[in-house]
């Protein structure tokens, strides 16, 4: 479990980090909590030659009430998201979902920005922020830009971030008392979800996203459309996998995964409708 040789630089600000990453190009990677990148490096599946450590960029760790949304700094640790009173009040679905990430050690090291930038379809937080209609703020050499969560995930571990861009903030709309549910189905408590569902409902509106049901986190638009047209929870849930292209793995066949998505979406909507 020894990674290939790499160089290491620590950035003290976002600007410095971006300037370093621009300097070293494609072979460089940002290192935040390290809980996605380091395991890949240890298995030598990832072999970046330069790591730009942004772990001590302090001004990127925050959770702020910004009126209609909550602004979360990209380096905020999962544990801080989970325990945040602001999020518990205004975006309880996200705080709750953060409590399902890995185990306590992972939640104390891993960051919400790292998880989203890694763009893992099996991540709990990519799908949750997608369901919530979050906006991600990226910063590059030419300043900041906003990317809607639904436009962010481009493929397996691929995001809309340019190589010299860094995710700096996650803006999550307040839930305004919407009913919600997070369903994570796995075999062991600390595993990635075999299938997960993040869902909320508020009057006619809803958001449903699926964990690990394709190469990216999946917005189950067909479910929300059906609900908007007045479909029952059970009928809407039957459309759970319409927008998904699930893969088979050791834990689930495509057929089983599809079935699970329907069951879990139904259960999520039942809970969100209470």
């Amino acid at each position: 479990m020894i990674p290939a040789t790499f160089e290491y630089k620590r950035a003290s600000s976002a600007d410095e980090a971006i300037s370093l990453i621009s300097q070293y190009g494609d072979e460089a990677k940002f290192l935040a909590g390290g809980h996605s990148l380091i395991p890949l490096m240890k298995l030598r599946l990832a072999q970046p030659t330069m790591l730009v450590d942004i772990g001590r960029v302090k001004d990127l760790s925050y959770i702020k009430d910004a009126g209609d949304h909550i602004a979360i700094g990209a380096l905020t640790r999962h544990m801080d998201v989970e325990k945040s009173p602001v999020l518990s009040k205004h975006v309880p679905l996200l705080a709750h979902a953060a409590g399902y990430v890995g185990d306590a050690q992972v939640r104390h090291r891993g960051t919400i920005g790292g998880s989203i930038a890694h763009a893992d379809p099996a991540s709990d937080l990519t799908a949750t922020t997608l369901a919530l209609g979050a906006t991600y703020v990226a910063q590059g050499p030419n300043g900041k830009r906003e990317i809607a969560a639904k436009d962010f995930y481009k493929g397996f571990l691929e995001s809309a971030l340019a190589a010299d861009e860094m995710l700096v903030e996650i803006k999550v709309p307040k839930m305004n008392g919407a009913g919600w549910s997070f369903q994570k189905f796995n075999r062991r408590a600390v595993d990635w979800a075999i299938v997960g569902v993040a869902a909320w409902r508020n009057n006619g509106a809803s958001g449903v996203a699926l964990v690990n049901m394709g190469s990216t986190p999946v917005l189950a638009g067909a479910v929300s459309s059906a609900l908007a047209k007045g479909a029952s929870v059970a009928d809407a849930a039957a459309h759970a996998a319409d927008d998904a292209e699930p893969q088979a793995d050791l834990n689930a066949s495509v057929e089983y995964r599809t079935h699970l998505a329907k069951v879990l979406v139904r259960r999520a909507l039942e809970q969100a409708s209470k």
Partner: protein
């Protein structure tokens, strides 16, 4: 009555905290990889990415040019380093096929993970980096991962053997010829089942680690290894490398678990020794976790065909078993013997007439070699008979406990000579089962089940049980001889009372988590009347404890602990002669109670063992013919295996929509005879039960059809964590073994032996109402859901 009640003043039976734990918990314990060895070279092994391939060429020139690289060796470079191939100590039949197996492959690789090239470098990182610079050209050949395909010999893995079949071993016992066939013909009920014992990957907390250090004095070489078997390793290292045995010293420092996987002689141990001698420098190696999944042995790996015949009351009249054993690519130390360890247990705890027909054929495949894994053959056997008993109960429409009660060997039948000729020393199956049933509140749970498991129920309740026998305390040497095993089964102990009355207990067992230092001190304390804190236990170093056969097969207490008691007896006998001399009485007039000799009837005429120890040391006034010093060595060769037993019960719920299983309650009632330290006993049961639950619900080494291991890390290979296992209720009955003076039986494997079948019986109990009566392990949610779908006619 528990042992603590029985002997209120006794050390034995107390819940003493383990003396090993402070060092382990604070990180002070020194494991092999913690040893500081200045100037050591680091070994890394390039492993085959192919399951089966011919090596066409190997180019190491780029690797040799890498920074820090000292040497690079191929299998051919080192061919002359080996005086003999790697050892298999258990040629189970005279015609068993055993391919020559060397630490590095010569012309062919036969599994993913097979060692191909060894690199020595100045650091671990440099040796690892150099592996990426080695160019090996392979000609891939057909992988064989299916046992039945292997048997067909369409592709032969070891061409010189001419077949993939290693051996066929039979155990047929009939009162009269044809008794088994006759019983099946006349049976009121029969079942025929096929079970798959999936391969499991042992996951010791500490992966393997080795350091070989040439000695400036006191012998040629010291081999430090994370091993369960320093004594066996010493002999085998000497033989394999052609080094005189007295010049090899093997030390097992703190060892972090083994479960059988460190009961072996591995390529890396031999490579480190060979290269340390060649380079005149220490050579060390530590296993990566993903290497551990490929290059350390796997466990289980059997297909079982089990047939039971029963009369109209469900009384068993015959058992027939056909096994296919997956040896993997090569035979490791005891690989071929594993199915034999189960061969005697396919009638379980039941009173079977002489109508037993067992046959095992073992085959080579292109997968990691298998070998002993906690329970070794016995969990597999117990699974087969116990899951088949439930199948029989379903067929007969009787309660599975009722069926077992009709078949248990009864208390008054012990000692019981089984069909196999083995004698079960003692037991009371009904008592253990009744106790378990009472913890489970069996009747109430059955009642709840009847209400809950209605058509359309989302969650179905299941109750499963197992009553087991664990053949352990390996082993009587004469019995091992009859099984063609290449060594004995004795264990040695030396007890040395030092001049100041402190004690050294030297044991041939080699603990790697079992707490022997605590338990052995308790035994010696009980015998000698000296406080346990004054007793040191020395072990796992062949220079300090030269005689021993190490730790595996639930043998350490039942053989090694009994040896300590025997050595204490010899010490006391000698001390008695000296005491009699001092007290001017006859030796037989002395009694020895709590560390003091006194004349029977005159308690004031007494001398403590401390005084005797000093007198033995000064030797100023010893009786004629008595040698100075108070020390004795004793070797215990058990008269019989020991036969722990018990009943386990599992209560679980299955979500029929998702197939997910939640174990609600797990009850283990075990009888391991007298208990030395109940705290350690409970810990052993907990760990064993979790390993069995893991086999039933989580773990499986998955290979694809090209022979790639898909579960080669801990994200894919699902070892359950503490939060994934249910609360476990442990309770005990105590039926002392009559075959050793401590009345002990051993408990290392009991939990594992009883648990996988218990869980699977509960799973099938929950699902049989839906028509699911067969399910392979692990009962993953996907597998359970698929089985329900299939039974319900799809959709």
């Amino acid at each position: 009555m528990s042992i603590t009640q029985e002997r209120a003043n006794s050390i034995i039976g107390q819940r003493m905290l383990r003396r090993e734990d402070p060092a382990l918990l604070t990180g002070e314990a020194k494991f092999t990889n913690d040893l500081v060895l200045p100037g050591a070279l680091h070994l890394a092994v390039l492993r085959s990415p192919y399951a089966h391939a011919r090596i066409k060429s190997i180019n190491v020139s780029d690797a040799l040019a890498m920074p820090g690289v000292v040497a690079v060796y191929t299998g051919k470079d080192l061919r002359d380093a080996w005086a003999a191939p790697m050892p298999c100590a258990w040629p189970v039949t005279p015609d068993m096929k055993n391919p020559a197996h060397f630490p590095l492959a010569l012309d062919k690789v036969c599994y993913v993970g097979d060692g191909v090239v060894a690199v020595l470098a100045n650091s671990e990182t440099e040796s690892r980096d150099a592996l990426d610079a080695i160019d090996v050209v392979y000609e891939p050949l057909q992988a064989i991962t299916d046992l039945e395909v292997a048997l067909s010999d369409k592709t032969i893995i070891h061409e010189d053997l001419g077949t993939n079949k290693s051996y066929t071993w039979n155990l047929k016992v009939e009162a009269t010829e044809g008794a088994v066939d006759e019983a099946f013909k006349n049976a009121a009920f029969t079942v025929r089942e096929r079970y798959v014992q999936q391969r499991l990957i042992p996951m010791a907390m500490e992966p393997r680690a080795v350091a070989a250090v040439p000695q400036p004095f006191g012998g040629d070489i010291t081999l430090y290894s994370a091993t369960q078997v320093p004594h066996i390793l010493k002999v085998m290292t000497a033989i394999t490398l052609g080094i005189p045995e007295h010049q090899v010293r093997v030390v097992a420092p703190a060892v972090g678990g083994g479960f059988g996987s460190k009961l072996d002689v591995y390529a890396e141990e031999l490579l480190c020794v060979a290269l340390a001698r060649k380079h005149g420098a220490p050579v060390r190696w530590v296993e990566e976790r993903s290497e551990n999944t490929q290059a350390t042995i796997h466990g289980r790996g059997q297909i079982q065909f089990v047939e039971l015949a029963a009369d109209k009351d469900g009384k068993l009249t015959a058992v027939r078993v056909r096994l296919i054993g997956d040896m993997g690519a090569y035979l490791q130390l005891v690989t071929p013997g594993v199915p034999l360890l189960g061969a005697f247990l396919y009638a379980g705890v039941y009173d079977l007439p002489l109508a037993y027909d067992f046959s095992c054929t073992s085959v080579f495949t292109t997968m990691t070699p298998t070998d002993a894994y906690r329970g070794a053959g016995r969990p597999e056997a117990t699974y087969a008979i116990e899951v088949a008993m439930d199948a029989l109960a379903r067929k007969m429409k009787v309660d599975p406990y009722e069926l077992r009660k009709r078949n248990y060997i009864k208390k008054e039948q012990f000692p019981y000579t089984a069909f196999s000729g083995l004698t079960y020393d003692s037991g009371d199956h009904l008592a253990a089962a009744e106790k378990a049933m009472s913890h489970a509140d069996y009747a109430a749970v059955r009642k709840k089940q009847a209400t809950q498991n209605v058509a359309g129920a989302r969650k179905r309740l299941g109750i499963g049980m197992t009553s087991y026998f664990e053949m352990c305390g390996l082993a009587p040497s004469r019995v091992l001889a009859s099984l063609n095993y290449g060594a004995g089964g004795w264990e040695s102990a030396t007890v040395r009372v030092l001049p100041t009355s402190k004690v050294q207990v030297v044991t041939g067992t080699s603990p790697h988590g079992q707490g022997h230092e605590t338990s052995w001190a308790m035994i010696a304390s009980e015998k000698l009347g000296i406080p346990p804190e004054d007793i040191d236990v020395l072990h796992s170093d062949t220079a300090i404890a030269p005689l021993g056969l190490d730790t595996y097969g639930s043998r350490s207490l039942a053989v090694g602990g009994v040896a300590i008691a025997g050595a204490c007896d010899k010490v006391i006998d000698k001390a008695r002669l000296i005491a009699a001399h001092q007290l001017e009485c006859a030796a037989e007039d002395l009694e020895f109670v709590q560390g003091t000799f006194s004349v029977k009837g005159s308690p004031d005429k007494a001398v403590p063992i401390a005084a005797i120890a000093f007198a033995a040391f000064t030797a100023h006034n010893l009786p004629d013919g008595v040698e100075p010093n108070l020390e004795a060595q004793y070797t215990h060769d058990p008269k019989n295996f020991s036969w722990p037993f018990g009943t386990h019960i599992c209560i679980l719920e299955i979500d029929t929509e998702t197939g997910k299983i939640e174990v609600l309650k797990y009850i283990a009632v075990d009888d391991c005879g007298n208990q030395i330290n109940p705290l350690i006993v409970e810990g052993q049961v907990h760990g064993g039960v979790v390993q069995g639950i893991a086999q039933a619900l989580y773990e499986e080494a998955v290979y694809d059809s090209d022979g790639n291991l898909k579960t080669s890390n801990l994200a894919e290979y699902l070892v359950p964590a503490a939060c994934d296992v249910p609360p476990i209720t442990t309770d005990f009955t105590v039926t002392p073994s009559p075959t050793n003076q401590l009345g002990v039986k051993g408990v290392g494997e009991a939990g594992t032996i009883g648990s996988a079948s218990t869980v699977m019986n509960a799973v099938l109990d929950a699902l049989s109402g839906l028509g699911v009566t067969k399910l392979d392990m692990p009962a993953s949610p996907n597998n359970v859901w698929k089985a329900i779908q299939a039974a319900q006619g799809g959709n």
